[in-house]
Symmetry: C2
Subunit: 129 residues, 2 copies
C-alpha cells in the first residue's frame, strides 16, 4: 500500500464520523465540512472515505436510497435501518453463535472477512405513517 500522509481534511472527516451516530452519506459529510473547509471538493470526500475504509478506520454500512452510508465506529456492532426515513441506528452486535461463521466457511468454502447484521423496518417516528 502507498504511504499515507497527514491530511487535515481527512482528519476532519474521521473526527466527524467518530463524533456522530448518524452514519452520514458522502454528501452529508461534504455539507457538514464545507463551511470549515470552503475549498473542499466532493471528489476529495469520496476519495478519503474510500481510503478510511481501506485503512479499517471506517466502515460502509450499506446503501440507503441509493447512497452509501459510513460509520466511524469500528467495534463490532449491528445496525437498524428505517425503510421510510432512512435513519441508521446502532445496535449491539448480533452474533449467530460461537464459531458458527468459521464452520460455515469450511463447509461452503470461503474465508470470512466481515459479518454484517442489518435489521430493516420502521423506526418509532415512522411507524404511524
Amino acid at each position: 500500500m502507498a504511504i499515507v500522509r497527514q491530511s487535515k481534511k481527512r482528519d476532519a472527516m474521521l473526527a466527524l464520523l467518530r463524533g456522530t451516530d448518524r452514519h452520514p452519506s458522502a454528501e452529508q459529510v461534504y455539507r457538514a465540512l464545507k463551511p470549515d473547509y470552503p475549498g473542499l471538493s466532493l471528489a476529495t470526500v469520496y476519495r478519503n472515505l474510500a481510503q478510511l475504509c481501506e485503512q479499517g478506520l471506517a466502515l460502509r454500512v450499506g446503501t440507503v436510497n441509493g447512497q452509501e452510508r459510513y460509520d466511524g465506529h469500528t467495534r463490532p456492532h449491528s445496525h437498524f435501518i428505517c425503510n421510510r426515513c432512512g435513519r441508521v441506528a446502532d445496535l449491539p452486535q448480533l452474533s449467530p453463535g460461537e464459531g458458527c461463521v468459521e464452520r460455515l466457511g469450511v463447509q461452503y468454502g470461503f474465508t470470512a472477512q466481515r459479518c454484517e447484521f442489518v435489521i430493516r423496518g420502521l423506526c418509532k417516528d415512522c411507524e404511524d405513517f
Copy 2:
C-alpha cells in the same frame, strides 16, 4: 395497491430468479431473457424487479460493485458475498437467537420487517489472489 395483470415477461423474470442460485443483477436478468424476448427493455426489467420485490416474490440481496442483486427465493436464509469476484452464495439462515430481534425492537423503538445477515470475504476460487 394497483391491480396486477398477467405479464409474460415478468413471469419469465420470476422463473429465471427461481431457477438459479446466482442472484443476478438487473443487467444479468436483461441479458438472460433478451434472446427469448427480443423486444425486452431494460426499463421493463427494473420496473418488474421492483414490483416483484414489492409483492414479496423477490428480494434485494444488496449491492455488489454498485449493482443491486436479486433473489427469487424468499424463505429465510443468509448470504455470503465474495469481495473479489462478487459471487453471492446462499447460506442457511443465521439467527441471532429466539426473540432477540423483537426484544431489540422494544428496547430501541422499532418494528422489524426483515433481518439480513451477510458474510463478506473471499470465496475458494479467489482466496489465492
